[in-house]
């Protein structure tokens, strides 16, 4: 027994060489936006950039600092984050469940697919008046509009993920007598996970877009409100500070989801050397 065991240990792919490469990639990802900011700052100093419309990054960061000191930014940020988080979960969970069901059950697909096809192309922000009508001007409508935007992307990606699962894995499930539940939990869900993650990433991006737009028109707080209000009162540096926060949010959420993907889909991230 010891011989094959030794063979086996020799054949395990070594994983210790990888982190250094990953660190390099991560370093580059952090560097590229910093370089852009540096070029912008230089442009503002030299005068090729009109600082009335594009204040220098240093000015924007100063405005950010002021907002932070006043505690204003935290307030706006927190409320926006809450809306995004609640709306995202409310959209992602049913998106995954429905996507799995559509992918696996022809009956569910027959019923839901045409509805999805018909409603997907509608720009979700155009539904805001209707959503406000239904859920009121309060938090409910913010959650709902984000959830609506997120559910489509997650659902469509999950379904595609299930459909792209190699047939052989379904054959194994059948041959070994897997129950319907096991097809969902042990084959469809993990098999579609790479695509589900892609759907979540897209959904997160859209959630950011939607929340800002929604806060433009129907809110008295939140980052979107901060941007719109600053624009209305011609505080351009504050407006850019708000935009900067959105950009940082996009960046942070991408990092978060990438980390989540590494934990949830280890067999995939390892392939992507």
């Amino acid at each position: 027994m010891s011989a094959p065991a030794r063979n086996a240990s020799a054949s395990v792919v070594s994983s210790w060489a990888r982190p250094s490469r990953r660190t390099v990639e991560r370093g580059l990802s952090i560097l590229s936006p910093l370089v852009l900011l540096a070029i912008w700052e230089a442009g503002a100093i030299v005068g090729v950039v009109d600082t009335r419309f594009f204040p220098a990054p240093s000015t924007i960061f100063a405005a950010l600092a002021t907002l932070l000191q006043a505690g204003e930014l935290q307030e706006h940020l927190l409320i926006s984050l809450e809306r995004i988080a609640v709306g995202f979960v409310l959209g992602a969970v049913p998106g995954i469940v429905l996507g799995l069901a559509i992918g696996l059950l022809p009956l569910v697909r027959a019923i839901v697919q045409p509805l999805v096809d018909a409603t997907f192309p509608i720009p979700k922000i155009a539904l805001l008046p209707m959503v406000i009508m239904l859920f009121g001007i309060g938090e409910g409508s913010k959650y709902a509009i984000i959830a609506i935007a997120v559910v489509f992307l997650v659902l469509i990606n999950t379904e595609a993920g299930v459909r792209n699962i190699e047939r052989i894995y379904l054959d194994v499930g059948r041959n070994y007598g897997a129950s319907r539940l096991m097809f969902f939990t042990d084959i469809a869900l993990p098999g579609a996970l790479p695509m589900i993650m892609a759907g979540l990433k897209l959904g997160m991006g859209v959630a950011l877009i939607i929340i800002v737009s929604a806060e433009f028109v129907g809110a008295r707080n939140g980052i979107g409100y901060l941007i719109w209000n600053s624009w209305n009162t011609f505080q351009v540096d504050r407006m850019y500070a708000g935009l900067m926060v959105i950009a940082l949010l996009g960046f942070a959420s991408a990092l978060l989801l990438a980390a989540l993907e590494r934990v949830l889909v280890p067999w995939r991230s390892a392939v992507r050397i």
Partner: protein, 292 residues
């Protein structure tokens, strides 16, 4: 393009089986195949994959089916596995009396272990499907994991394993399920030559119980083993069934058990006197079937 949904739908219906399953009696063979035919329809065109096949496999017998590529070997196994329905004919699998075992477990030709499951969960998949609780099934597969040389890799994911190790997992999953019959579809075809030699010996050792396989069934499993390798068929099987080119039908059957006793030493078989003769006989049958 996608018939997967219907796969799930049919997932539980073991219809091709339940109708024909019967309890063992000494006289009847373990697997009885009568007039089995398969015609695939691809856009109005009929492709006959399997001509009429009649075959009996005895209880505990290791039958190897050899045939040129595309002659319907996989199709035959998939029908036996309940993954495909026959166009014609029937087959039955004799149940061991007093046991409630799964009818068959298949080792697939292509990479088929779940990339998202640890080695342990892959091997225990059949037991989980049968409703065995986590702790119990982990405990139950431990001897199998040990026997097949996967000890220490229980928590590894397949992408961390070599091709040979993955096939070990695939074999362990089938053996651990303790089925009435084992169906193996060229399990080593994708492996390199040396690994293949090692795996053939390993398979025999586990199947023959030479290592005192601590599985549930004391008796040897009935195996239907598909291969395109004459050598593999001779070395492993009790009987070699030679199929013609597509549509596959049985051309010849060669009794190997009469020549080589069990447990078998793979290397000794290859260097024995009758080996060359057996190889030549099977090759004569196959050669005319191969359009090179």
């Amino acid at each position: 393009m996608w018939g997967k949904a219907s796969i799930l739908k049919e997932g539980h219906s073991l219809a091709p089986y339940s109708a024909s399953v019967s309890v063992a009696s000494a006289a009847r063979p373990k697997v009885r195949i009568r007039g089995l035919r398969k015609v695939f329809r691809v856009r109005q065109r009929a492709v006959e994959a399997l001509a009429t096949v009649d075959l009996d496999v005895g209880s505990g017998e290791f039958v190897a089916i050899v045939g040129p590529s595309g002659c319907g070997k996989t199709t035959l196994l998939r029908i036996l596995a309940g993954l495909e329905t026959a166009s014609d004919g029937e087959f039955s699998v004799e149940r061991a009396a007093g046991r409630d075992l799964p009818l068959n477990s298949m080792v697939f030709q292509e990479q088929s272990i779940f990339p998202w499951m640890s080695v342990r969960d892959n091997v225990a998949f059949g037991l989980k499907a049968r409703g065995v609780a986590r702790r119990a099934r982990y405990e139950a597969v431990l001897p199998m994991i040990r026997a097949i040389g996967l000890e220490g890799f229980e928590d590894a994911l397949p992408h961390q394993l070599s091709g040979g190790m993955k096939q070990r997992v695939s074999l362990a999953r089938a053996f651990a399920n303790d089925p009435e019959i084992l169906l193996m579809d060229e399990p080593f075809a994708a492996l390199d030559e040396q690994t293949k030699l090692v795996m053939q010996a390993e398979l025999l050792r586990i199947w023959e119980g030479a290592s005192g396989r601590p599985g549930e069934s004391a008796t040897r499993k009935t195996v239907v083993y598909v291969t395109h390798s004459i050598d593999e068929a001779i070395v492993l099987a009790d009987r070699v069934v030679v199929l013609s080119a597509r549509p596959g039908r049985i051309k010849d059957q060669v009794d190997i058990a009469a020549i080589y006793a069990r447990p078998r030493d793979v290397a000794a078989v290859r260097s024995s006197a009758p080996y060359g003769e057996l190889f030549a006989r099977i090759w004569r049958e196959l050669r005319t079937e191969i359009a090179a």
